[in-house]
């Protein structure tokens, strides 16, 4: 059998998958949508980036994202979770839930799924719930709005600027680095690679999927 088939996710046009040069990408012959790219950097790169993302995520959540200095009147700072709690305490339960989901839970699911998938595969095992993690990762990515949250901190600082001395918190550095790492994962990671490694690990050798 020749090269395996692929269908464009945007227009459903059936075409044959061709091998790509390093760093190249394939476009749909009908609508021009990008179909897949060659995996630059192997699995080990993705493992390293995923673990880095996990550490940065923990730092971003543990440290304050912004601090407010009112001189003699007091000092206040807040973390990501503190923001959620403050909004909830004001009785805006659903708004708090939205911030919790897009700012904390969805990014945690995305990063957790990446680590859960890539680390065992890299070590030569096949994680038990690989397919579940594989489906959670892109779903969580859609709802993960960490970059938006970072812009929001900047907006909040500007809005308060003339009222008090506000400073960005140390967590913002972790935030910024995390966004870079997640973007790198997004560009370097080819999800199809997961299955190549999983099949190789299962069979102990590279087995081409029997595709018709």
């Amino acid at each position: 059998m020749a090269d395996p088939l692929i269908a464009c996710p945007e227009c459903d046009t059936l075409q044959r998958e061709i091998p790509l040069p390093r760093g190249g990408h394939a476009e749909c012959c009908h609508c021009g949508e990008m179909l897949y790219r060659s995996a630059r950097g192997g699995l080990s790169h993705i493992v390293a980036l995923s673990i880095a993302a996990l550490i940065l995520f923990l730092i971003a959540n543990a440290l304050p994202i912004a601090a407010l200095d009112l001189g003699a009147a007091g000092y206040a700072e807040t973390t990501l979770a503190g923001t959620v709690a403050a909004v909830r305490d004001q009785g805006r339960f659903l708004v708090a839930l939205m911030i919790l989901w897009t700012g904390i839970v969805a990014p945690a699911l995305e990063i957790g799924a990446m680590v859960y998938m890539t680390v065992p595969l890299w070590l030569g095992h096949c994680p038990e719930y690989l397919s579940v993690a594989f489906r959670i990762a892109p779903m969580a990515r859609v709802w993960s709005l960490m970059d938006v949250f970072m812009l929001a901190v900047a907006v909040a600082l500007v809005k308060l600027g003339d009222l008090a001395t506000v400073s960005p918190g140390p967590a913002l550095w972790a935030f910024g680095a995390l966004i870079v790492v997640l973007t790198l994962i997004g560009t370097l990671f080819d999800p199809r690679e997961i299955w190549l490694h999983a099949e190789a690990n299962k069979a102990g050798r590279m087995v081409a999927e029997a595709r018709q």
Binding site: L14, A66, L70, T83, G103, W195
Partner: protein, 209 residues
Amino acid sequence: MTALTAREAGLVACLACHLVSRPAQPRASMRCPRCRAPLHSRKPRALGRTWAFLIAAFILYIPANVLPVMDSNSLFMSSSDTILSGVRYLWKSGSPVTASIIFFASILEPMLKLVGLTALALSVQHCGLRIPARRGAQIYRMIHVVGRWSMTDLFAAGILAALVQSPTLAEITVGPGALAFGLVVVLTMLASLSFDPRCLYDTERADCG
């Protein structure tokens, strides 16, 4: 150019892992043989779901813009800001860049998204309102990329509420408009996730045939 689609060939592509497979028993609840994701040749009831989320978002768009998203009380003054008055305040107080960002992310962008998705849904349903499929897919892709930034103002209000909460001096609370606004963002995201861009090409192909 006549290109065969997976559906015409009796195949289904998995949206999660991109494996193309031949479904064993059509119509039944199919799962991808590789990643076990539910398989659909087209997203189920795509148009109906898109419309449901869109209409809900259109309705909530009104309170989202009329009700205040942020209330501030201090010793000297107390004010309620809607999204638009917040933008105006930022503009006047000498932060035109931030004002522009918020204007684009909170006012223009949700509106364009609602209009864009409505146009796409109508394009699939009515011949007279047909958008060229390629252009439609471009619009759809753009909606996905910029859609997320609408949440900025809501997050900012949350951060301010967490920072400024000394009842004697100054207090900022998240207003009722924030709930409506957040729901608009979530509903439009759900609407665009429910829409299936492959339908755009299906209708174009049907026109040719």
